[in-house]
């Protein structure tokens, strides 16, 4: 086997905002979690297990954000996911019957029936409804490194005008990780890769070794890093930053030439939720009768026209195999060149949204599986590594301050601060200041006052989710995002006055504590 000249590090960022509505079944947004479990998280876990079973030594890093962990751990959402699967099994069973006269469609409907039935079996019988332990298992056997994230994915470049609110995002992110994984995280995915140097001292305070930045977080660093994104840098405060590789990002992400656009891959936008007869599909779409995605999709991308051919599982696998080969060859060539110019072996960092794999790019988890097998078995000049392993092997790195940056459109804060959503920020800032005020006013609260203060901290954190700002910019599901901001700021403000006036409404507190039940162990004193 060839000597390894460099490394490739995959980082998948798994995140969904905390969506939990015990008060109603009418929130479509709750299904994001169920779809992501079936399309991304279980397929990733299944492929990890396949690699382990086949004795393939691989490495991958994943963020499991605190809201996602909290939802994985939520009994009601676990039950609702099982209900979702039962409905999907029922629908796919009907589909097998409905498509009996069309062989190709019938094969696909059987595939979906088997897949959802298998999900139910895996979720209940193999993982005991607990995906956290499923991921933890792979971390414990050394193939997966799990990192943390800001408590609710709050975007630091907007929050840091009150640094305590950034500190709280980091602290709660680390505490949540420790609760579920029994140790401290070494890395953190800064929400939206939003880097501000003011966060460094808090990252160090809570034991974080490294962060992931967008490419220009490294390339525009000061002083300029001599190896670009191919080696980590360390900030003066001691935070290590790994930068996203440009070439490999483009190969996967590009909307023009990216792998997910292959004509043999499953077409995301043709779903029986929209295509099937309305009366037939009505029990499986939104409660209010609006057509939505069901997850059963029969077509492949086919081409750039409106015409879509049926999806062919074998063809899709063939394309994934071919593209894994292309990615493998590209990294080999890249590392061959880099290794001539560098004193330490280069690292090519490939960070992606986890939900790209499986949800958007249906074949993504299989592509990863094939690629990891190739890297292990085929002759090549690189191997997989986690950022932590790289730091431990090559601890000497250039001292440089990363550039303030994000991975949003155009690289800075436009996605989370623009004319559609800028009205939100003053409310986040005022609520942040008020939370700090409360923490100073009531340093030793007990009983209901303490409960109210902790709930106020939860409401603030939930209001700070970058997701709401993103959704408003993106222009879909806007009403829901705006409602969430209003609800959390509204609940926070009401609590703020009740706490200050010593007139806490127990019924109200109990009600919102049930709805916004994230971080049961939070301590509001983090804002002191």
């Amino acid at each position: 086997m060839q000597e390894k000249k460099g490394y490739v590090s995959f980082v998948l960022h798994a995140h969904l905002p905390f969506i939990h509505h015990p008060e109603s079944d009418d929130y479509l947004e709750e299904s994001w979690l169920y779809e992501a479990i079936s399309e991304t998280y279980i397929p990733l876990l299944t492929n990890f297990q396949k690699l382990v079973d086949e004795n393939v030594d691989f490495r991958i890093t994943m963020t499991l954000t605190p809201p996602l962990l909290s939802m994985f751990d939520n009994k009601l959402l676990q039950e609702k996911y099982i209900n979702y699967l039962n409905k999907m099994i029922e629908l796919s069973k009907k589909e097998v019957k409905r498509t009996a006269n069309d062989n190709r469609l019938n094969e696909l409907s059987k595939y979906y029936y088997n897949r959802y039935s298998n999900d139910l079996h895996i979720f209940k019988d193999v993982y005991n409804c607990n995906l956290i332990n499923a991921f933890k298992h792979f971390q414990d056997i050394g193939v997966l490194e799990i990192i943390t994230c800001g408590a609710t994915h709050g975007y630091f470049p907007i929050l840091y005008v009150n640094e305590k609110t950034v500190k709280a995002q980091i602290a709660v992110g680390v505490q949540t990780y420790e609760k579920y994984f029994g140790r401290k995280p070494r890395g953190i995915w800064l929400p939206e890769c939003g880097y501000v140097p003011e966060a460094d001292k808090y990252l160090k305070e809570f034991g974080i070794d490294y962060i992931i930045t967008e490419s220009h977080g490294i390339l525009y660093a000061d002083p300029t890093p001599i190896y670009g994104t191919f080696a980590p840098i360390v900030s003066p405060e001691g935070v290590i930053a790994f930068g996203r590789d440009i070439e490999s990002s483009r190969q996967v992400w590009s909307s023009i030439s990216g792998y997910p656009g292959d004509f043999n891959y499953r077409e995301f936008y043709r779903d029986i939720g929209y295509d099937a007869d309305y009366d037939y599909i009505k029990p499986y779409i939104a409660h209010n009768g609006v057509r939505v995605h069901t997850g059963i999709k029969y077509y492949r991308i086919t081409g750039k026209s409106e015409f879509k051919d049926y999806y062919n599982l074998q063809w899709a696998e063939d394309s994934a195999n071919m593209q894994a080969g292309h990615f493998f060859d590209s990294r080999n060539a890249q590392i061959e060149n880099l290794s001539q110019h560098m004193d330490t072996p280069p690292i090519i960092l490939c960070p992606y949204d986890a939900e790209l794999y499986g949800h958007w790019w249906y074949e993504g988890p299989y592509w990863l599986y094939v690629l990891f097998k190739k890297i292990y078995y085929d002759d090549c000049n690189f191997t997989l590594i986690t950022p932590s392993e790289y730091i431990d092997k090559y601890p000497n790195m250039q001292v440089s301050s990363p550039c303030r940056s994000s991975w949003g459109a155009n690289g800075y804060s436009e996605v989370w601060l623009n004319h559609t959503n800028d009205y939100v920020h003053k409310h986040l800032h005022v609520a942040g200041d008020r939370m700090c005020e409360l923490a100073y006013l009531f340093p030793d609260a007990e009983g209901i006052q303490k409960d109210a203060l902790n709930q106020a901290a939860r409401e603030l954190l939930l209001a700070q989710s970058s997701d709401w700002l993103f959704i408003i910019t993106n222009g879909t599901m806007v009403d829901y995002a705006k409602k969430r901001i209003k609800d959390h700021i509204g609940r926070f403000t009401k609590l703020y006055y009740q706490i200050k006036d010593n007139k806490i409404d127990e019924k109200f507190l109990k009600d919102i504590s049930k709805k916004d039940c994230i971080f049961p162990d939070i301590d509001y004193r983090i804002y002191r």
Partner: protein, 268 residues
């Protein structure tokens, strides 16, 4: 975002419209809210009067308690809620954020108490005979400039020429015309400090001696550029572009915009 077609966006928009009968009206008012160009080429303004849309109720509900809440009964709920965001917090404040390396976002508010104090000190018509201004201080390069704003705005996008600089903003007022009572500029409030992001590879900060740190023991040491492998095949004058050409063979490093942009945080 990968593979998001126009068709899907339209479908989702339809879905939004169906989901809430009020959403289309809200969207219209949001669209109207977008910026209008100010006389000054360097800035755009937002009108506060537009911000009040679509509900005038906000005004009356934000005096003392900043949220509006109704309690109604529902079958499976103990408490049902409805909230609106307060229009203002009755505090004197100026805040800045960096939207891009060259665009700052500023928002501000003056409390009722301060408004009354200015009126007491300078006369009831103080806010009619003076206009609001923003003074932008570039603390890194040590210069300031001023722009006129107006009393209909409570936030502003401001273009600045220098990236990677520390800025603060002062909100003040100047007499519109000569006045006996107000001779010159009157300070109202000062913002937080921010540093605008860098937007380019820092050619000027490329040193001959490179500082390294062993992150295991925190020992720091310097290495000469000429001793590093990367400079073996180069002339004595090192240029970061030449170095980057070696490791980024086909990339255009002057226009970095990675294609995952906008894909984060979206599931739909």
């Amino acid at each position: 975002m990968p593979r998001k077609t126009k068709e899907q966006k339209e479908l989702e928009e339809k879905k939004e419209i169906k989901k809430s009968s009020t959403s289309s009206a809200k969207k219209k008012s949001t669209t109207k809210k977008t910026t209008t160009t100010n006389k000054s080429k360097t800035s755009t303004k937002k009108s506060t009067s537009n911000k009040k849309a679509p509900s005038t109720k906000k005004k009356t509900t934000t005096r003392k308690r900043t949220t509006k809440e109704k309690v109604v009964e529902e079958s499976n709920l103990e408490v049902a809620e409805y909230y609106d965001l307060p229009y203002r917090y009755n505090k004197t404040v100026v805040k800045i954020l960096a939207q891009t390396p060259s665009t700052l976002f500023i928002y501000w508010e003056i409390s009722d108490e301060d408004i009354e104090n200015y009126k007491k000190q300078y006369g009831e018509n103080f806010f009619e005979i003076t206009k609001p201004v923003l003074i932008i201080h570039n603390k890194t390069l040590d210069y300031s400039f001023e722009i006129d704003i107006n009393d209909f705005a409570n936030s502003w996008y401001l273009k600045v020429n220098n990236t990677k600089c520390e800025y603060s903003i002062e909100l003040g007022r100047r007499p519109i015309e000569y006045s006996n009572t107000i001779s010159d500029y009157i300070y109202v409030a000062e913002s937080n400090d921010i540093e605008s992001p860098n937007d380019h590879i820092l050619l000027e900060s490329f040193p001959d001696m490179i500082k390294f740190r062993n992150v295991k023991n925190n020992n720091e040491y310097f290495r000469k550029m000429s001793d590093l492998s990367i400079s073996k095949n180069m002339s004595k004058i090192y240029n970061i572009y030449d170095l980057y050409k070696l490791i980024y063979q086909d990339e255009n490093l002057d226009s970095l915009n990675n294609p995952s942009s906008g894909a984060s945080s979206t599931f739909k």
